[in-house]
């Protein structure tokens, strides 16, 4: 009986080792993303917890820029400090660039489905802004489909709770690495942030 247990152990280990090769266009970065980043950001950048942003389909230049601000500690919101300052500390320029490209190439999370009334309220802010409060339309930078462009992030399919947290952090200057977003959010209420976040995520 004991012999069979040992044989089973060896056979299972051999099987596992035999399938342990990764494939893909950038196997080394895929390996890093799978072994490290995926623990929070999910397989292929599709995170489960709203504490951590979805990276799948994100603009490569935006991911790169954020990793650089984590590394040089110029993005200092609480989660950035608790998690990403350490995680990005040893990344070199080449790895940062390849991580950006890797996540940009992953399939984005489908559109978020939420409360229709709140999404309708968010649509108005997203598409028209709030002229009375000098809040510009989000479409101007993030695009009508909320896919972003270059260093402007994709918002579509993102966790709404994560987007709200970022808007709050921009407003409070906890996240002080984007003066434009601070001025955009300065006169927004929490309710307005929640509405626009839900609309953007629903794209």
């Amino acid at each position: 009986m004991k012999r069979y247990f040992l044989e089973l152990l060896v056979a299972t280990a051999s099987l596992l080792v035999s399938v342990s090769a990764f494939s893909g266009e950038d196997a080394e970065i895929a390996k890093l993303a799978t072994r490290v980043c995926a623990n929070c950001h999910g397989p292929h950048g599709d995170s489960v917890s709203s504490a951590f942003p979805r990276l799948a389909g994100q603009q490569a230049a935006y991911t790169e820029a954020q990793l650089k601000t984590f590394k040089d500690k110029t993005r200092g919101d609480p989660y950035a400090q608790a998690y990403m300052w350490g995680m990005a500390s040893q990344l070199d320029e080449d790895t940062i660039k390849r991580l950006g490209a890797y996540y940009a190439a992953q399939r984005p999370h489908p559109a978020w489905k939420g409360d229709a009334a709140r999404i309708a309220q968010g649509r108005s802010i997203y598409e028209n802004g709030m002229p009375e409060a000098e809040v510009p339309a989000c479409t101007l930078c993030h695009g009508e489909n909320a896919h972003g462009k270059d260093s402007i992030p994709r918002l579509a399919g993102q966790h709404p709770e994560y987007l709200v947290k970022q808007l709050v952090a921009f407003k409070s200057m906890q996240r002080a690495n984007n003066p434009v977003m601070h001025s955009v959010t300065d006169k927004m209420s929490l309710e307005q942030m929640q509405a626009v976040a839900e609309f953007a995520a629903s794209k």
């Binding site: 280990a13 342990s20 990764f22 995926a38």
Partner: protein, 460 residues
Amino acid sequence: MQAPGNRTMGILASAVAFVSLACFAPQSFAVPSFARQTGLACEGCHTVFPELTPFGRAFKLNGYLIDNLPQVKGLTTDNKEALLLNWLPPISIMFQTSYTSTSKALPDSDPALSGNSQNGQVLFPQQASLFYAGRIAPNIGAFIQMTYGSDSGAFGWDNTDIRFADHANVSGKDLTWGVSLNNNPTVQDVWNSTPAWQSPFDQRTSAAPTPAAATQIDGALADSGVAGLSLYGYFANAFYAEFGVYRSAPQGFGGQAGAGPLDSTASNVVRGTAPYWRLAYEWQQDRSSWSVGTFGMNVDSFPGEGATLSGATNKYRDLALDTQYQFIGDESIYSVQAVYIQEKQTLDAIAGQSNTLKTMRIGGSYYYQRKYGGALGYFATTGTTDTSLYEPGAVFGSANGSPDSKGWIGELNYVPWQNVKFSLQYTAYNRFNGSSSDYDGFGRNASDNNTIYLLGWFNF
């Protein structure tokens, strides 16, 4: 009525059993070594230490390998990694100090005297540990703990989990797999519903009595000293399977030649190896995670303690079910853990009796901003009455031979910083070693062992 001589023997046997149990009571620690290595705050891996978050579980399953420290590197001639060593070792220290007061003072340890021990024991330290916790090679990491215990007044070997970990791509899904070398069944587990790390955490030492009976997988086997090797796999962040074997490997065993080989002077010596297995499923949705699992082991052991390590063995078949729910919000964190363990004993090396021993624990905790929190738990151990196993003895014995103990444990916690915790804990027994009143045959009631326990816990 026991003869005085038998009573003394009972006291001694019970005290020895108790002290050895207390030394291996569930210990649970958070390790700043990991924070130093990863650059992550404690909240990355812990809700509040020592309970693990989903990331903490992944970090452990990945062999403690995530490393953001500068490295000393070595390469082979074909440019493969031959050395990957942290520039600075991930070392850390834990210091626990405590105050323990029981409802009624314990009798003096000298049975010839009728007085009581001093009640309200200060331990400074209760325990102090030195950890190496982190990566030690490209695919190998370790959690190694040496602890000074106030029980022994000496440093001893404590929780150890050295593991190899790697990944495989199976049908497009990730499989984290690895091998763990460890010294306590379930110390390698990642859910806080299994014995080694279950919440709420009873950190009390011998300053307060704890129940005598425990199943093999709930500390009794680790108590006698084992080493285990297990192979595990975690597929698609959901399905976990592990199989391993344990063999006796006590520390500090005198025997006939210092460190062994084991002989009749040892106790609870595993015949061959004891297989251990674990299956679990984890479901994650946004900030919530829920796991259900089962684990168990088969132990055939020689009792030793004067008998040769041959012939009939005592057979223990442990089967357990466990579950955990966690919600980790930005402000509020709450979790519930439950475990049920059933052990069937066929004690051929004693008198051939067939017994059962069952343990159930359920507990929940809440924290606000990871700073203010509390926990409440219920525990119950019940089993076959057996006067040859559970002998009478003052405080630690059982007058009726029953292993039954039941009670509640509640605690309030203040965590001013993520690596410092103050706990006020109260343990209340409805039943202790078989009875609620005069359980030991010496006039002590279960409620006399109710305990107020104040703990200061520093990790740095």
